[in-house]
C-alpha cells in the first residue's frame, strides 16, 4: 500500500514515474485528491526547498522535483476542479515591464504551486496595468514581481505605485531577482523580498495570512 510519505519522497527526489504511480494508487484506494496534494505533494516540495535553502541541493534538483509535482497535479487538478476545491490563496506572478527573463520567476511559480497556491503566471514584460487587472480579476492575496536586469528594476517601483493607487491597493506585493535587495524592497514600498525561490514560499505564506 502506498503512503503519503512515499509520495513525498518520490517528489523530493524527482522520480516522476514513481510519483504518478503512487498518486494513481492512492486514488484507487479512495484517497481524497486534496489530501494527496496537502499530505503528499506539498511536504515533498517543502523538503526539497529546505535542502535548497541550506545549499544541500541546487536549481537542477528543484526543477526535477517540480516536474514530478507538475505531472502529479496534471492528474489531480481535474479531480479537484470537479469537487469544487480551490487553493486557499492565489498569487499573481510575472517579470516586470521591459524584462524578458523568466527562469527565476518560473522557479518561484513552481515552488508556490508546490505549496498549493493558485498561481496566475502573466509571463514576462508585464505592464503595471496588467498586474493590477490580474490581481483584481483573480481576487489575489499576493502579487509577485521579478526582475533580472538592473536596468528594469525601476519597473518594479512603477508597478508597486500602480497597485497602491488602484482599487486592489491592499494586495501584498513581494519582489525578487538577482539585483533586488531588502533595501530596494523597502525603498519602493513592497511588502517583502526573498533571496531565493524556496524562501519565497515562506514569505508568500506569511504575507498571504497577514
Amino acid at each position: 500500500m502506498s503512503t503519503f510519505a512515499d509520495l513525498s519522497k518520490a517528489v523530493e527526489s524527482g522520480k516522476r514515474k514513481d510519483a504518478k504511480q503512487i498518486v494513481e494508487d492512492l486514488l484507487a484506494e479512495g484517497t481524497a485528491p486534496l489530501d494527496i496534494v496537502e499530505q503528499g505533494l506539498v511536504p515533498g516540495m517543502s523538503a526539497i526547498g529546505e535542502k535548497f535553502k541550506k545549499n544541500e541541493v541546487f536549481v537542477p534538483e528543484m526543477l526535477i522535483a517540480a516536474r514530478a509535482m507538475k505531472e502529479c497535479m496534471g492528474i489531480l487538478e481535474p479531480l479537484l476542479a470537479d469537487a469544487g476545491v480551490k487553493p486557499e490563496f492565489t498569487a499573481v506572478i510575472g517579470t516586470v515591464q521591459g524584462d524578458l527573463h523568466d527562469i527565476g520567476k518560473n522557479l518561484v511559480a513552481m515552488m508556490l504551486k508546490g505549496a498549493n497556491f493558485g498561481v496566475v503566471d502573466l509571463g514576462t514584460n508585464v505592464s503595471p496595468d496588467q498586474f493590477v487587472a490580474a490581481a483584481r480579476e483573480h481576487n489575489a492575496q499576493l502579487v509577485c514581481l521579478s526582475a533580472l536586469l538592473t536596468t528594469t528594476m525601476p519597473a518594479m517601483k512603477t508597478t508597486v505605485e500602480a497597485i497602491r493607487g488602484s482599487d486592489v491597493s491592499a494586495v501584498r506585493v513581494m519582489v525578487g531577482g538577482a539585483p533586488v535587495t531588502q533595501a530596494y524592497c523597502e525603498e519602493i514600498g513592497a511588502d517583502g523580498y526573498s533571496q531565493d525561490a524556496a524562501s519565497a514560499v515562506d514569505l508568500a505564506l506569511e504575507l498571504a495570512k497577514s
Binding site: V57, F58, V59, R67, G98, D99, T150, T151
Partner: protein
C-alpha cells in the same frame, strides 16, 4: 593570417572589451528592447561602442549577439532574423577590431533548461547553437565565445557544436555566485567541476564572466580557482565593476577604473591570460585595465 587567439594569448597579455548593454542604453536603447535589432538598424552605434573599447586598448571585441539564439530572439518575435543579425554582428565587430584585433562571436544562454530539468533535448539545443555559430563565423568571427553559462551540460553542447561547425578557437565562460561560502554557478556547479567540463568539451580558453553580487576580492579568489582548475588551458576573467549597490531607485557599480586596474594587475600576477569587463564596466575602466 591572424595568429589564433589561443596561441596569441600565451604570447602576450590580452585585454577583452567590457559591457555592451549599458553602452547601448546610453545611446538611447530602452530596457527590454531587442539589442540584436541594433545590428541591422543602428550599426553605427554598435560600431562606435566597439571602437571605444578598441581605442581603450581592448584587442578582443565581443559581437553584439548575447541574446542572438533563435530561442531568445523568438521572445521578441524576431526568430526569422537569427542568421542575418548574427552575421551583421560579426561583420560590425570585425570592422572595429581591425587586423590586430580578434572578434569573439558571442553565444549566450538559450534561455531554458536541458532535459531532465527542462524539456529541451540536446539535439534541439545543438540546432539552436549551430544556427547562431554558423552565422557568426560567416560574418567574420575569429573565435566563438560561449558565455554566462550556468549549466555545464549547456556549455558543453555550445562548445562541441562550435567545434563541429567551425575551425575557430572556442572560449567558454561561466557566471558564478557565492553559495554558502564557495563559488558555484546558479546550477550549483563548483569552479573545479565547471572548468573541467569546459576543458573536456574542447574549449581552447576557459574562465568566467559576470557573476552575481561578487566583490573585487571575490573575483581575485575566483581567478585563483580558475587558474588552478584550468591546468595547461589558457584562462579568461571578465569581472563586473564590483558588486552593485542600490541608489536612487536603481543600481550603481562603485568600482573605479583605478580599482579595476588594481584587480587586473593582481589577476595578471595569478596567471590569467585574458582580462576584460562585464556589468558596470565602461571604456574608461577597460582603458585603465589594459594599461597594467
Amino acid at each position: 593570417m591572424k595568429t589564433p587567439l589561443d596561441q596569441a594569448c600565451l604570447a602576450e597579455p590580452l585585454t577583452c572589451d567590457g559591457a555592451m548593454g549599458t553602452q547601448l542604453i546610453q545611446r538611447g536603447m530602452s530596457p527590454g528592447e531587442c539589442g540584436m535589432r541594433w545590428n541591422a538598424e543602428r550599426p553605427d552605434d554598435i560600431r562606435a561602442v566597439h571602437q571605444d573599447y578598441r581605442d581603450a586598448g581592448c584587442r578582443l571585441i565581443i559581437t553584439n549577439s548575447f541574446g542572438g539564439t533563435r530561442s531568445m530572439l523568438e521572445r521578441h518575435g524576431e526568430g526569422g532574423h537569427t542568421a542575418e543579425w548574427n552575421r551583421l554582428a560579426a561583420k560590425i565587430a570585425a570592422d572595429a577590431a581591425g587586423p590586430d584585433g580578434w572578434v569573439l562571436g558571442d553565444v549566450g544562454p538559450f534561455g531554458d533548461f536541458l532535459e531532465p530539468m527542462g524539456e529541451t533535448t540536446t539535439e534541439e539545443l545543438e540546432a539552436i547553437f549551430r544556427e547562431q555559430i554558423e552565422a557568426l563565423a560567416a560574418g567574420g568571427a575569429d573565435a566563438i565565445l560561449v558565455e554566462t553559462m550556468s549549466d555545464p551540460a549547456e556549455l558543453t553542447v555550445g562548445v562541441k557544436t562550435a567545434r563541429q561547425v567551425t575551425d575557430l578557437p572556442v572560449v567558454a565562460t561561466y557566471a558564478f555566485q557565492d553559495s554558502g561560502g564557495e563559488f558555484r554557478t546558479m546550477m550549483g556547479t563548483t569552479v573545479a567541476d565547471a572548468i573541467r567540463a569546459a576543458c573536456d568539451a574542447g574549449a581552447s580558453i576557459v574562465g568566467s564572466n559576470c557573476g552575481t553580487d561578487l566583490s573585487l576580492e571575490n573575483y581575485l579568489k575566483l581567478g585563483e580557482q580558475i587558474v588552478a582548475a584550468a591546468g595547461d588551458i589558457p584562462t579568461i576573467l571578465q569581472p563586473n565593476a564590483g558588486a552593485p549597490r542600490n541608489a536612487d531607485g536603481g543600481v550603481v557599480y562603485d568600482a573605479t577604473p583605478e580599482d579595476m586596474a588594481e584587480l587586473a594587475r593582481k589577476l595578471r600576477e595569478l596567471g590569467i591570460h585574458i582580462i576584460g569587463g562585464c556589468c558596470g564596466t565602461s571604456p574608461a575602466h577597460l582603458a585603465a585595465m589594459a594599461r597594467v
